[in-house]
């Protein structure tokens, strides 16, 4: 299923009792249970799945607020949702626990269309697990501390070949182990970016986007991926989720590559940012995304 943006569930779009951004009449849903009981006993403790929770959020403003603001907490023990996880995931990191070489985890990409299964390396079934963090080499840069990054978006390449030379352009082949990750995140006063390359097994230097390309957190949330967006948890950031997506616009910069591939520096990315513009459709880090991220985190354990 093509998943559309759930901007209405984006926490910043939901009026908060603490810091109301919108002047709205008091919540009046006529439901006698208070927030705590509703959240802890009904949403968290019950057997409602993620789809049910989003439906609950669509019933009234209070329920919407509770689900949107505590999606990660609510969904941490929920069973994975087919709607959110399968459709959203573009891939996952994999590393066999039998592998003691210290090599970087492989990026096993889900197909952009669900008819072809992802290609996984041969290993024991129990070794097939998501491993966005742990003893893999994919740790975020040390300069990023918990709570420092206000908004974090993780974007991966869209691996479809160019439409014109689909036959002759082997820019990417399923099963390629090389990958690049591009982080865009908000610091206190500026927007920054960093790139990780599986070839060098290292993060590049942090790039600061210049004032002309200053992007607000809201704008980051509006970054519209391509047809198959995905959410994966980012290692080391509790409470901060990465937003991985397949976005054709960034294919020249953020592509899976064999060999050395293209470099992806913050400066070139900033140029792209400046000139590329933003898609108009909204795709927020909604509760749905956070739900899916929570599911991914659960699946990763």
């Amino acid at each position: 299923m093509l998943v559309d943006g759930d901007g209405w569930l984006f926490p910043s779009a939901v009026a908060s009792n603490k810091r109301p951004k919108l002047i709205l009449p008091a919540e009046d849903d006529g439901f006698p249970l208070n927030d705590e009981l509703l959240l802890l006993l009904v949403f968290v403790a019950s057997s409602l799945d993620t789809d049910d929770l989003v439906r609950c959020a669509a019933t009234c403003r209070r329920w919407c607020r509770l689900v949107a603001h505590d999606a990660h907490y609510i969904c941490r023990l929920k069973p994975p949702s087919e709607r959110f996880l399968r459709a959203l995931t573009v891939g996952f990191f994999h590393q066999s626990h039998l592998d003691d070489s210290g090599a970087a985890p492989r990026f096993a990409q889900r197909p952009s269309r669900p008819r072809a299964p992802p290609r996984l390396p041969r290993c024991r079934p129990q070794a097939r697990r998501m491993q966005p963090c742990g003893r893999g080499c994919l740790h975020p840069p040390h300069t990023l501390r918990q709570g420092q990054a206000r908004t974090l978006r993780l974007r991966a390449a869209h691996h479809r070949r160019p439409r014109r030379n689909r036959r002759s352009a082997p820019s990417w082949a399923p099963g390629s182990t090389a990958f690049r990750l591009f982080l865009v995140y908000k610091e206190r006063n500026f927007t920054a970016s960093r790139c990780y390359s599986s070839n060098t097994r290292a993060w590049g230097t942090e790039g600061k986007l210049c004032a002309a390309t200053k992007v607000s957190g809201k704008r980051l949330g509006e970054m519209r991926p391509g047809a198959w967006p995905s959410v994966v948890p980012c290692s080391g950031y509790q409470g901060t989720w990465c937003w991985a997506s397949a976005w054709t616009r960034w294919r020249p910069l953020l592509r899976h590559s064999r060999g050395s591939g293209t470099s992806c520096s913050a400066s070139t990315w900033a140029t792209r940012w400046r000139t590329g513009g933003w898609p108009s459709r909204r795709m927020g880090g909604s509760a749905r995304c956070r739900c899916a991220a929570g599911e991914a985190a659960v699946a990763a354990r």
Partner: protein, 173 residues
């Protein structure tokens, strides 16, 4: 209940002054009662006052505690009973639970609040199961109707939901 063990009764007093007597072992299903008795209170004639819980609700909670205590005592007494009998008893208790919790919504809310205040985990789980059962697989509008929730979204918010997530208005297929 072990033979020869003195029968100790506990009195629970609801917020509207009604008293309910039950076996101490049955009352110990409640964490709140357990804590009260552990600190040496609640065994006197005055009983244990239960605030914010009316007599009508407390009577149902007492029925639940008595039933579950009796079932647990019977299971303990039949140590040699075969597995099939245990499974049958468990199934029977589950059916009784489902019948017990099949209540009107107002009573269900009261019992959930009471179970939470008294710390009766089994009853909390049962209420949560009932709530989930009422919502599971239903569309957003059906949940509203079922639970009597008022739609207080603004027209803009409603339009946004319609636009972004039209699937919430349909049931799980």
């Amino acid at each position: 209940m072990a033979a020869g063990k003195p029968v100790v009764m506990v009195t629970l007093v609801s917020s509207d002054g009604q008293s309910f007597q039950l076996l101490e072992e049955a009352a110990l299903l409640s964490a709140m009662v357990r804590d009260t008795i552990q600190i040496g209170q609640g065994r006197g004639p005055a009983g244990i006052p239960i605030r914010n819980i009316t007599g009508q609700t407390l009577s149902m909670v007492v029925v639940y505690c008595n039933k579950h205590y009796t079932a647990a005592a019977a299971a303990d007494g039949d140590d040699a009973a075969d597995e099939e009998k245990k499974v049958a008893n468990k199934k029977q208790l589950r059916e009784w639970d489902e019948q017990f919790i099949n209540l009107e919504q107002d009573k269900l809310y009261d019992i959930l609040v009471a179970a939470n205040n008294l710390g009766i985990d089994g009853l909390v789980d049962l209420c949560c199961w009932r709530f989930a059962d009422m919502m599971k697989g239903k569309s957003a509008s059906e949940i509203r109707v079922k639970l009597g929730i008022r739609d207080d979204f603004t027209s803009e918010q409603r339009a946004q939901i319609e636009k972004d997530s039209p699937w919430v208005w349909s049931r799980t297929t």
